[in-house]
């Protein structure tokens, strides 16, 4: 140490003084050599942005949401009322997506349907989030006998055919948007509960949870500060993939006549209306609702897949 210091001093004497510059006192230039520290969410965001298909999905979702909000106001027409003399008009400058058999403007109806579909999708995802996280979190955290009983219950429910429950509920309650949301969340939380339980079961044996317990952290603090944030990745992915499932279920039920009822417009009911005029030339009656359902399902599915890849690098395939 001493020797090398002397040697370097000797060297330094041969070097002209003007080559020396004072070290930046803030230590800024050291940071240049280090990779900037990136948080988990930031890192996931970068990974997501690299996935072009997922970005496309995200853009489509944003467009859908914006159009669902402003779309019905872009036209002077009402989604419920039409002019009978204008029935089955092809797309034109006055009716951008054409009209249906009651002369109602399809553009207005399609975007009104987007409101219904997206609302059902998001509502189902959020309710599922609350029930699934509480149930799965409790089951996983308590463990042992409580976990066993709670999971047996879930297993039985899991065996129930999902759409059967939904359709049966339609018997008890009047068909409509509210019933669909209740029916979807009644069966939908099961998958979420399983995911959260698995995560919590795995995370609760980590050292930092033990440390928090030793330091006197309450159960609710451990769950809120440690277990939930760490299982957020799979939860968000599951929520994102719930939305297209719910939108499909709504369209499916409405198509069967068990979903939202006239005069409320929904993509499913519009597609169902188009079934009757399939062998006529009124292609716009089918094409617009069909494209909207498919685009939305596509957008949420690829975005959800992208999120999964971004949030869980280990799971990437």
């Amino acid at each position: 140490m001493d020797n090398s210091a002397k040697a370097s001093k000797k060297h330094a004497q041969n070097i002209p003084d003007d080559l020396f510059t004072p070290v930046n006192k803030n230590g800024d230039n050291e940071a240049e050599f280090m990779r900037p520290s990136v948080g988990f969410w930031q890192d996931a965001w970068f990974r997501l942005m690299k996935n072009k298909v997922a970005v496309l999905g995200l853009i489509l979702i944003v467009i859908m949401i914006i159009m669902a909000i402003i779309g019905p106001w872009l036209t002077p027409y009402d989604y419920r009322e039409g002019v009978l003399s204008n029935q089955n008009q092809p797309p034109s400058t006055t009716h951008w997506f054409g009209t249906d058999e009651l002369g109602r403007d399809m553009f207005t109806r399609v975007w009104y349907g987007a409101r219904v579909s997206l609302f059902i999708g998001f509502a189902a995802a959020f309710i599922e989030f609350f029930i699934g996280v509480s149930y799965g979190g409790l089951s996983g955290y308590k463990g042992g006998r409580v976990d066993n009983i709670m999971m047996r219950f879930v297993d039985v429910l899991y065996g129930l055919p999902y759409l059967l429950v939904v359709i049966l509920l339609m018997v008890v309650m009047d068909p409509g948007v509210f019933t669909i949301i209740v029916a979807l969340s009644l069966t939908g939380w099961i998958g979420m509960a399983r995911i959260v339980r698995g995560q919590v079961l795995q995370l609760k044996s980590n050292e930092y949870v033990l440390a928090s317990k030793v330091l006197g952290g309450s159960t609710s603090r451990i769950v809120r500060k440690h277990l939930l944030p760490n299982s957020m990745g799979p939860i968000i992915v599951s929520m994102t993939l719930t939305v297209p499932g719910a939108i499909f279920a709504e369209a499916f039920l409405s198509f069967l006549g068990l979903g939202v009822q006239a005069p409320i417009a929904s993509w499913g009911t519009m597609a169902n209306d188009a079934l009757g005029v399939l062998n006529t030339g009124y292609w716009w009656r089918l094409v617009f609702p069909a494209v909207m359902i498919s685009l939305t399902m596509f957008a949420f599915n690829v975005f959800g897949d992208g999120l999964r890849d971004a949030l869980d690098p280990k799971m990437r395939r």
Binding site: V156, G159, L160, P161, Y162, L163, L164, I167, L168, L169, M170, V171, V172, F248, A251, F252, F255, L256, G257, L258, A271, A274, L275, L278, N279, W283, L286, A290, I293, S294, L295, M297, F298, N301, V302, R317
Partner: protein, 311 residues
């Protein structure tokens, strides 16, 4: 193995009983009864009461329930309360063959083509075939089957006489409905097979097999595919469920004389025995399918029994 089968079998029966019980009481809790609309049509209160007595609807719900279970044990679903002259048994028996043919064709077709697509995509990873398969998979998941069915009718069925767009009878009637119904399952199976194949092909034992000089076909068939198909077997239960429910709409669109239409009709008609029968039949098929999946899984993956306790 015997104990395992027995356990799963008992679990299957219990699940089925729970479904039956739930459906029964939910259905009776629903407002309205099968003779509601007759009252508007003008049958007297006396006639209505007689009908209720005739069908045993005047008794307390729990007694009706036990009677129903007793009859069900002998596979007697009772009379239909809407089509008065026919029993539910005969209606189900009439519609069942068509539904069964459609369902089986769909399942077999989706499993075969899904696996083939998935394997080819994995073997030609990041090449043209792979991309095309993935596009098909994304489309299959994104486009709802009833939309696809209508597109098929409009652009294939109505253009070419070869594919009839409605009714039932010959094998040609099956093609379009089965194709529409299998779009989702094909997509799911192809994706799953592809990702599993990609994972398995990177395993050490595949490299060892290659090093030993085993032919590529044999490696794929004997070493890779067998392991890659395990997850596909697990999702067969869920796929059957989606094919069953999907068949409600597909049967409606293609006017297939199957069981599916009774399901929706019976709900709006409050035809109690019919609602019960369709529910029981559909959930029995589903629960049985899950039972089979469990068994098959136990057979092709001997490790499953070791891990069973933890699940």
């Amino acid at each position: 193995m015997g104990v395992f089968i027995l356990k799963r079998f008992v679990a299957m029966i219990i699940t089925l009983l729970i479904i039956i019980t739930l459906t029964f009481f939910l259905m009776h809790a629903a407002p309205g009864d099968p003779f509601d609309f007759d009252a508007e049509g003008g049958i007297s209160a006396q006639a209505r009461e007689n009908l209720m007595i005739h069908y045993g609807l005047d008794q307390p719900t729990h007694i009706q329930y036990f009677n129903y279970i007793k009859n069900l044990a002998t596979l007697d679903f009772g009379p239909s309360m809407v089509s008065r002259s026919r029993t539910v048994d005969s209606m189900i028996a009439n519609g069942f063959p068509a539904s069964l043919v459609l369902g089986f064709t769909t399942l077999i077709f989706s499993v075969i083509s899904g696996i083939i697509l998935g394997v080819i995509a994995a073997l030609r990873h990041n090449r043209m075939v792979d991309y095309v398969t993935m596009i098909i998979a994304v489309l299959g998941i994104s486009i709802p089957n009833f939309i696809l069915a209508m597109i098929f009718i409009k652009y294939i069925g109505l253009q070419f006489d070869f594919f009839p767009v409605a009714r039932w009878g010959t094998w040609r009637h099956v093609i379009l409905p089965a194709l529409a119904l299998s779009s989702g399952p094909i997509a799911i199976i192809a994706r799953l097979t592809r990702s599993n194949m990609l994972e398995v092909l990177n395993q050490d034992y595949i490299r060892t097999a290659k090093a030993k000089g085993i032919s590529p076909t044999r490696i794929v068939m004997k070493h890779a595919l067998r392991n890659a198909l395990l997850p596909v077997v697990t999702i067969m239960g869920a796929l059957t469920a989606s094919v069953l429910t999907g068949s409600f709409v597909i049967e409606r669109i293609f006017a297939v004389p199957g069981v599916g239409r009774y399901f929706v009709e019976s709900i709006s008609n409050r035809d109690y025995p019919m609602i019960m029968a369709t529910t029981v039949v559909y959930s029995a098929i589903l629960v049985f399918m899950m039972f089979i999946v469990d068994l098959v899984y136990g057979i092709i993956d001997p490790r499953i029994k070791l891990h069973k306790k933890e699940g």
